[in-house]
Amino acid sequence: MSLLSFNNVGISGLAAAVPQKIINNYKHDLYFNKDDIQEVIDKIGVRERRFADDNTCSSDLCFAAAEKLINEMNIDRNEIDLLLFISQTPDYRMPATSVLLQNRLQLSTSTITFDISLGCSAFLYGLSVAYSMLTAGGIRKALVLDGETRSKVYSQKDRKTAFLFGDGGVAALIERGEQYSTSWFSLNSDGSRESLIKIPAGGYRKMSSCETVTEKVVDEHGNIRSEEQGYMNGADVFNFVIREVPRDFDRLIEFAGVERNSIDYFIFHQANSYINGFLARKLRLPEERIPTTIHKYGNTSSVSIPLTIVSELSGKLNGQKRILLSGFGVGLTWGTAIIHLNDCFIGDIVEV
């Protein structure tokens, strides 16, 4: 049972950055007519999302968010001993993007840096790593940077994914302190479902070639993508999520021994509004405690949980708060966390 608990460590601040460019989905009729896309958009609930330009990477969005956080919280850069970069859209295959960010952010060369590649559940995994390393001692402050440019991953000619994904980056500062009480995590994986969300080529199993970058019609509906673009089997993922996410939710609530009523906000990965609405109903959660950003930022993969906190909970996290996070997706991996916050700083969203 992969259940973890931590004391006296917590998120002291969060900031986020999104690209300036807004995609209005109902008008995004490059390859499909408006009537056809209306049905899709109504179901997934993504009215708008942000697209990074060709020159902007996940790391650039994270860098902007990190600068905002460090400056507004007046953080001494020398006290940041750990930098994690969470992404599946890094700058390069090598070196790790976290190392580039250490330099760009002018952090000490004694900073521990590494990348975490997991997708939609990764913010929870990243937090658990930061909490663990801070608990081990010797680290004063940890910076968790989480960014994705999923707009560059999925084909705009594949109706299954063309209207769903958006880009964003966040920065979270994690610190030790007696002001933080207990946080709990449940983290899970099922690699037998690896093919449900996948970019099959461009790694080292099937290396990049002329063939892998060639667009092809992939189904009877005329959807088009290359093997280096993302594929998603929405029905299988949906079916898995509606079964396993509530199960993990209940498991962590029981492990933590907390009352549901004591949880101030429930922040789910913004997968699409249909899944999220279903989960909320199945778990019988009060709507007013479930902040959502799917309508304005779309599915930003691992970024969606912290981006939703920054976007929707600014001014609402004064004093002590207990929030539940639920992430699920590619891998498949999924997890639930109940974390304690105490006067968590939230910066305004930066546009890049």
């Binding site: 899709v40 509606i242 109903r281």
Partner: protein, 90 residues
């Protein structure tokens, strides 16, 4: 034995009614157009989007948690009814 068979038949018929009602709602179809021997994936309103509504309906209305491999093997409305009655028995 006979009573059990009759009871099973009544349960089955009630379940069939309930499923057809729920399926009609999920697929936004008139319930009279849904027949037990209908191949539900062939219905005009069945798509990758409405499939989610069918899966959601099975879960929320009937408590059915099913692997997609099993779901994909079901063809007719009667197969769905059988799935529900079998799962609810076990």
């Amino acid at each position: 034995m006979l009573i059990n068979s009759i009871l099973n038949l009544i349960t089955y018929n009630t379940m069939e009614e309930k499923l057809i009602e729920a399926l009609a709602e999920a697929l936004e179809m008139d319930r009279s157009t849904i027949k037990p021997d209908g191949v539900f994936r062939d219905y005009e309103n069945y798509s990758s989007l409405t499939e989610l509504s069918v899966l959601a309906m099975l879960d929320s209305e009937f408590g059915i948690e099913i692997e997609m491999k099993e779901f994909d093997s079901l063809k007719t409305v009667a197969d769905l009814v059988r799935l529900i009655t079998d799962k609810q028995k076990s």
